[in-house]
């Protein structure tokens, strides 16, 4: 492969590389065609082709970013156990392919809105590790100024609308964003992500009906990791074919552990949504951790199942095999990359630990628009400042 000098990352996650890596990282955009592992299953539409256009740079990018996401989530696990992260922490490891494949297919003008398993999506949208760890630990430098926590990451300049705690509530919001995009003729789409548990919420169908009625560029993405907290999908849903749930809305079932399948599906969905209206994507994926850090994840599924998926379908392993088979890097070089990533994550954690907590006065800010709300102090409310318009 042509070995040329390093150029800066193009996916928004700027990161310096040590000189040792200059040798093999290719800035080649010579196309590589990858076949997805499984064909797509379609509902009311023609499935896209299994051949995905990619490049050596993209392949290495995928590996690096997914390894970073994986490392970040594992580090968050340790921080939670060390009680530096409190509250609730829902980890995404195993599902990285969905975040990375989606990013590869869209621009920062397209909006993404998701539920509480949002750390990796935030990173994919251009968030930095420092912002992630600061927010998780409730520090000022966090993306939501330390006031949101694990479940409420937002990034306005990349059209990432968060980060929502209430299951299913983000889907009607996503359709509203799509409406705005269409109204403003932005030629952009909205990806509203939800899980297999949320798929049974009524508000989802309300939002779907409205989107279909008004031809909104809304793409509903069901990240089906087969367990709604502890409930297996077959025990919660009469029809676990979530891509068909739209009935009159077309759908596509995608292997969510294959980043290229995800990329192809999202590209297809974006084109469809801009032209014809809403579409549902079902990502068949899996999470290795439990629902959240309070859930061991082994009371409702066997350890064999988890390790089986890890061995056969792990998204990072898949990319690694592709990188090696296309001779883009050697095993050792990839291991070195992983070591770099580990160090980067550790540095970000150390930096975040040094960051201060928000000021106590922040408790009262942003409840309303500044100057138009009430503030209360003192148990007998002697000092109450109310400035209403």
């Amino acid at each position: 492969m042509a070995l040329s000098r390093l150029s800066s990352r193009s996916n928004g996650i700027a990161r310096p590389f040590s000189a040792a890596f200059n040798r093999f990282i290719s800035t080649d955009t010579t196309p590589i065609t990858i076949e997805t592992s499984l064909p797509f299953t379609a509902h009311l539409c023609d499935p896209p082709s299994r051949s995905v256009e990619s490049s050596s740079q993209e392949l290495l990018d995928f590996f690096r970013t997914m390894a970073l996401m994986r490392r970040m989530e594992i580090a968050a696990d340790s921080l939670y156990k060390a009680k530096l992260i409190r509250g609730f922490c829902h980890l995404y490891d195993g599902q990285e392919a969905v975040a990375i494949g989606m990013e590869a297919a869209i621009t920062k003008k397209d909006a993404i809105i998701t539920a509480y398993r949002d750390h990796c999506i935030f990173l994919g949208r251009g968030g930095s590790l420092h912002e992630v760890f600061s927010e998780l630990m409730g520090r000022q430098a966090g993306c939501s100024k330390g006031k949101g926590g694990s479940m409420h990451f937002y990034k306005k300049d990349s059209s990432f609308y968060g980060g929502h705690g209430i299951v299913g509530a983000q889907v009607p919001l996503g359709c509203g964003i799509a409406f705005a995009q269409k109204y403003n003729k932005e030629e952009a789409v909205t990806f509203a992500l939800y899980g297999d548990g949320a798929a049974n919420q009524g508000q989802l169908f309300e939002a779907l009906n409205i989107s279909a009625l008004w031809d909104l560029p809304a793409i509903l993405v069901c990240e089906n990791n087969h367990y709604g907290m502890g409930t297996a999908e077959w025990r919660a849903a009469k029809s676990p074919s979530y891509y068909k749930r739209g009935d009159y809305v077309p759908g596509l079932k995608v292997d969510g552990m294959d980043a290229f399948a995800v990329k192809q599906a999202c590209k297809f969905a974006k084109d469809h949504a801009l032209e014809k209206g809403p579409i549902i994507l079902e990502m068949d994926t899996y999470r290795y951790h439990g629902h959240s850090m309070s859930d061991p994840g082994s009371t409702y599924r066997t350890r064999d199942e988890i390790s089986g998926v890890r061995q056969e379908r792990d998204p990072i392993e898949r990319i690694k095999k592709l990188v090696l088979s296309h001779d883009l890097a050697t095993e050792k070089e990839l291991k070195d990359m992983e070591k770099e990533i580990r160090k980067e994550v550790d540095d970000a954690i150390a930096k975040a630990k040094d960051c201060p907590m928000p000021e106590p006065s922040e408790l009262f800010t942003n409840v309303y628009v500044k100057g138009f709300g009430t503030e209360s102090f003192g148990p007998d409310r002697k000092e109450v400042k109310a400035a209403l318009p």
């Binding site: 926590g149 049974n200 408790l363």
Partner: protein
């Protein structure tokens, strides 16, 4: 962080209803149980005593996220204790229908923060069913249980206290226990009450509160408040987990010579106005404390009613020590909460008015 530590250390052995207890059950001994075990016992008894009662909600089959429903599915079968999909509106609506056919539907909403999709069903369907059908139909067999309240690290959506929303709805009852023994008796009363009831369980106390709970079937009447500590200088009214904090403040105030009377409201709707009125007529001062935000909280209703009834007997304005008017915060929880010191401050200010 000290405030958090203090909270995590509180044990509730002393909250047993002692002084002049009106319930014989309060002097009985039993097994030492925590809150979730007491509730579990109540559910076992309820399902045992009425073959037409059902327990359902998200994840109740294996015992529930707080273990309140352990052993029920094994003992009574999957036809009576079953899991539902993730749809609060559907679950409550389904419960209303089941209750309308004469069954006892014991619905679990996993966290009170998630009860809002079901709000329409509770307010518009459950509360008004008997009224609008001219007593032809009713859903009195409906009991909705939900864990509520702060837990130290719950953040926006695992700590809310929504009782005030429901106290504004004629047609339902709202009940909040303070301890394991109370919870078992109150829950059994709620299940057997011929009106729809919303039962909020202080999730903080699920493991923390340990008390002697009689093993037999007993009920504690609804709409009867209890004076759990007698005093002469000021009346304090509260419910649920907040009572422990208030009791600590009372003990501190006693050291300064202020004798406090503490009342557990137990039932918020319809609430026992007479007991509180009698107490305030004796002491002349009232302090109300709850975790929910102060504006529009249930303390406002108590304050207004007592003002109407006891105006001439009041020595000082009614004080409310409550959560602040912000969304329930994440890292700021110790500042948001109505802590012992805030209550103590208010007691002293009121007494020295």
């Amino acid at each position: 962080m000290a405030a958090l530590l203090g909270r995590s250390c509180r044990k509730l052995g002393f909250l047993s209803s002692g002084h002049g207890a009106r319930r014989s059950v309060s002097t009985e001994t039993g097994k030492s149980l925590n809150l979730y075990s007491a509730i579990n016992q109540a559910l076992h008894i309820a399902l045992d005593s009425d073959p037409r009662s059902y327990v359902f909600g998200e994840d109740v089959g294996f015992g529930g996220v707080f273990r309140c429903t352990t052993g029920l599915a094994e003992r009574f079968g999957k036809n009576r204790v079953f899991n539902t999909p993730l749809c609060e509106q559907g679950i409550v609506g389904f419960g209303i229908g089941l209750a309308a056919m004469g069954n006892r539907a014991i619905v679990e909403i996993q966290f009170a923060d998630y009860i809002y999709p079901a709000f329409d069903q509770i307010v518009n369907e459950a509360a008004k069913f008997r009224y609008r059908s001219g007593n032809q139909f009713n859903c009195g067999g409906l009991t909705i249980r939900a864990p509520y309240g702060a837990v130290g690290h719950g953040g926006h959506y695992h700590s809310q206290s929504p009782e005030a929303f429901f106290c504004h709805v004629p047609g339902i009852k709202v009940v909040i226990p303070r301890s394991p023994r109370e919870a078992k008796g109150l829950l059994l009363s709620c299940i057997r009450d011929p009106n729809p009831v919303v039962f909020f369980e202080p999730k903080w106390l699920y493991r923390q509160a340990v008390e002697e709970v009689p093993e037999h079937d007993y009920m504690i009447p609804l709409s009867e408040a209890e004076v759990i500590r007698e005093g002469n200088d000021i009346t304090l009214v509260g419910w649920g987990a907040q009572l422990t904090i208030m009791e600590q403040a009372c003990l501190e105030a006693e050291k300064e010579g202020i004798s406090c009377e503490l009342i557990d409201l137990k039932t918020l709707l319809p609430w026992d106005k007479e007991t509180v009125e009698a107490s305030v007529k004796k002491t002349g001062r009232l302090l109300i404390s709850h975790e929910a935000p102060i504006t529009g909280g249930f303390g406002a209703e108590i304050s207004a009613t007592i003002l109407e009834r006891c105006f001439l007997k009041l020595e000082a304005p009614v004080t409310r020590v409550c959560g602040l008017d912000t969304p329930f915060p994440l890292v700021f929880e110790p500042f948001y909460m109505p802590t012992k010191n805030k209550i103590l401050d208010a007691i002293k200010t009121t007494v020295n008015y």
